[in-house]
């Protein structure tokens, strides 16, 4: 063979955490030893994490996958000629034909695992920057209209229509406007932002640039949590390359319109995922929530009009511009348009990233894609939408995913994170943890959140004590107190931290009363 074989080894954090660097090094040295010419590409992850490190080789038929490949497997793989697609027990066939991947509807994650994340050439060869070029051809108001018509809603959790935010900022008069990306993905069970920043950073950069062109903003910030060092490194490299190539800077693609972009690193504060706390943090202050109004679209960063969206929201924009609003709006159901990258996590056999149009059910996600629990035990509870999301009981597993439909039964789509628990999980402990987490992470500005969460931990502890000591009247009293406290937190907190912490607590109490030592549940909606 005269030309080098292309071999792909992911450099996504999860793949690295499972030994991808060691696997890559073994492939390099083994190829050298055998005198086989290879070109090793460190791609991003396809998001099939139970198969990571997932090694792919380019063959005439397409890319062939092997996984999970540990360093010690590499010599045997060369023995069977895997670089030409040779058969091996780790062989998975053509990557694109893997069921988990084939059945998805990947719009935002279309490039994920395929390209070299920081290669601008790769990005453009796969439809990258088609959206921005389109946006520069039409009027800014038409760009906003496209986003409005697509029905895109914020993918960070609140699900506010992105186009309306953009329209407000575009209409505001100011000497300076900003585009800010909330990349403080702190919810347990979510990693689609991390994957995007590590695996397809130009998609986020392009989405933010389109937002800037649409609204007249000239500066942008990406606020990334410090727990994501690889994301920060990749973004910085991508921004430098995009600036050098003229996609960012004083004149974006020669349009005469400026957009400068910078990464800001967070410092380990969960509440900075709330948009106003994040703005305070970027401004160099403690991340304490601001009261609204004024809304950030009018008075945001440094008091100026600011577009704030999360990673997946911006990342959804390039394809909307490139292919048109109608194309995107054709996916989904009701007022939930397009697709959502859903993250299957926790105690699940096939954990990973599944992008589907709205309308998919939890049962399909957890059992058809996820394959049930990793432990092989029955699924007991599924928490959806992060630490502030409810535990969804089996009666709702067949409900199509839709913002309004889920809200009606007390569930939260949130950022699309799904955490599975098997029957060994203790829901009382998880409810207590929710309160404890709120107590640790509360910014302290409002009393229901700051004090309520601490009291919540105490009440749940007293409830457990009463259960152990067999005091039913004390138990009943503490349950009443807990509900009361949750009511105060829901209705009296400034932001989602205190306002939603009761969701996991109450859903645990309502749907799993036996874990609280209650046999006769006092059913109330979460």
């Amino acid at each position: 063979m005269s030309t080098a074989v292309k071999i792909y080894v992911p450099r996504d954090s999860a793949a690295l955490a499972l030994g991808a660097d060691e696997t890559a090094a073994a492939i390099q040295s083994e190829a050298k030893k055998r005198n086989i010419a290879i070109e090793l590409v460190r791609n991003s992850s396809r998001g099939l994490f139970w198969l990571e490190p997932l090694v792919e080789v380019a063959t005439q038929k397409g890319r062939v996958a092997y996984g999970p490949v540990q360093a010690e497997d590499v010599a045997r793989l060369f023995d069977v000629g895997f670089q030409n697609g040779g058969a091996h027990k780790l062989g998975l066939g053509l990557t694109e034909e893997i069921d988990y991947l084939k059945k998805q509807e990947r719009l935002t994650f279309a490039r994920m695992g395929i390209t070299d994340p920081v290669s601008l050439e790769d990005y453009q060869a796969h439809e990258g920057y088609a959206g921005l070029r389109k946006a520069l051809e039409i009027k800014p108001t038409d760009v906003v209209q496209q986003v409005l018509d697509s029905g895109l809603r914020g993918r960070g959790g609140a699900a506010f229509p992105a186009g309306i935010k953009w329209k407000t900022v575009a209409a505001a008069q100011a000497d300076q406007k900003y585009v800010v990306c909330n990349a403080d993905e702190g919810d347990s069970g979510t990693f689609s932002d991390r994957m995007t920043m590590e695996g397809d950073p130009y998609m986020l950069i392009e989405g933010m640039t389109i937002a800037a062109m649409a609204t007249g903003a000239t500066r942008g910030y990406i606020y990334v949590r410090s727990e994501y060092p690889h994301a920060i490194a990749n973004l910085n490299e991508a921004i430098a390359r995009a600036t050098k190539a003229g996609f960012l800077g004083d004149s974006v693609l020669g349009s005469g319109r400026a957009f400068h972009l910078e990464v800001r690193k967070g410092a380990g504060s969960y509440v900075c995922g709330e948009e106003t706390a994040m703005l305070e943090s970027i401004e160099g202050k403690r991340g304490i929530v601001r009261a609204k109004p004024p809304i950030p679209a009018l008075q945001g960063l440094f008091g100026k009009p600011t577009v704030i969206n999360n990673v997946i929201t911006y990342a959804s924009v390039p394809i909307i511009l490139a292919r048109g609003a109608a194309f995107y709006a054709n996916y989904g159901m009701g007022r939930s348009k397009g697709t959502l990258p859903i993250q299957l996590a926790g105690n699940i056999k096939h954990g990973g990233l599944v992008e589907k149009a709205f309308g998919v059910t939890l049962r399909e996600l957890v059992f058809t894609y996820g394959g049930g629990t990793a432990s092989g035990r029955p699924v007991k509870a599924i928490q959806v939408g992060g630490p502030l999301g409810a535990y969804v009981p089996e009666q709702h597993w067949d409900l199509p995913m839709d913002y309004e439909g889920w809200t009606a039964v007390g569930a939260t789509v949130g950022h699309g994170g799904i955490v599975v628990h098997d029957d060994t999980s203790d829901m009382r402990k998880l409810a207590r943890y929710a309160m404890e987490f709120c107590a640790i992470e509360s910014c302290g500005k409002c009393t229901p959140c700051r004090i309520g969460s601490t009291r919540g931990v105490e009440v749940i502890d007293r409830l457990a004590d009463a259960d152990r000591q067999g005091k039913p009247e004390v138990k009943a009293q503490q349950v009443k107190l807990l509900r009361d406290l949750c009511d105060t937190m829901v209705n009296g907190s400034l932001c989602a931290m205190g306002g939603m912490t009761p969701f996991p607590v109450l859903s645990a109490l309502n749907h799993y009363p036996q874990d609280f030592g209650l046999s006769n549940p006092d059913k109330k909606a979460a």
Binding site: L16, A17, W50, D187, S188, E283, G284, N347
Partner: protein
């Protein structure tokens, strides 16, 4: 909860460290919202933020010392004193809990005692599909069992 809360008066900065801080301030203080980038730079280079440089930072940014102190103590990431040995973070968020991270945390607490490490909880490393997750220095590890944890600690000792 996941940071040291000592008074930090035992760790004054050396002249060399002061110079590092000065260089950071010169490079950053004109940047809008410069405080977090400054604190990150200082901690990345010194391993912590010495209490006696708070006044220098405050002066460079024209804010009060209380404001700078408030920011340092608000964020879990910033340290007012050096970490002992390698920083070992065990994720204790829900996804990791569903795969046994509470038992791993208990095990780690005992194991870490015999090693020169700073053990800390962390609430999500974004490795939720391959839980439980651990970060040691700058390296991530997924599906960490107690046995694997001890092996990682042993490797750390070997490397030292």
């Amino acid at each position: 909860m996941n940071k040291t809360t000592g008074t930090a008066r035992n760790y004054p900065s050396s002249p060399q460290q002061k110079a590092t801080v000065r260089a950071v301030l010169d490079a950053r203080s004109q940047q809008p919202g410069a405080l977090l980038p400054i604190l990150h730079d200082i901690q990345d280079q010194l391993g912590y933020i010495p209490a006696d440089v708070v006044a220098d930072i405050a002066e460079a940014l024209n804010v009060s010392r209380a404001e700078v102190h408030g920011v340092i103590t608000y964020y879990h990431h910033f340290r007012s004193e050096p970490a002992q040995g390698a920083v070992v973070q065990v994720c204790r968020a829900e996804a990791c809990q569903s795969c046994g991270s509470e038992a791993l945390w208990e095990h780690a607490s005992k194991s870490a005692a015999g090693h020169n490490v700073t053990l800390e909880p962390v609430y999500c490393l974004g490795l939720c599909a391959t839980a439980p997750a651990v970060q040691i220095r700058d390296k991530f590890h997924a599906r960490v069992t107690p046995t694997k944890f001890d092996r990682l600690l042993a490797q750390l000792k070997e490397a030292a």
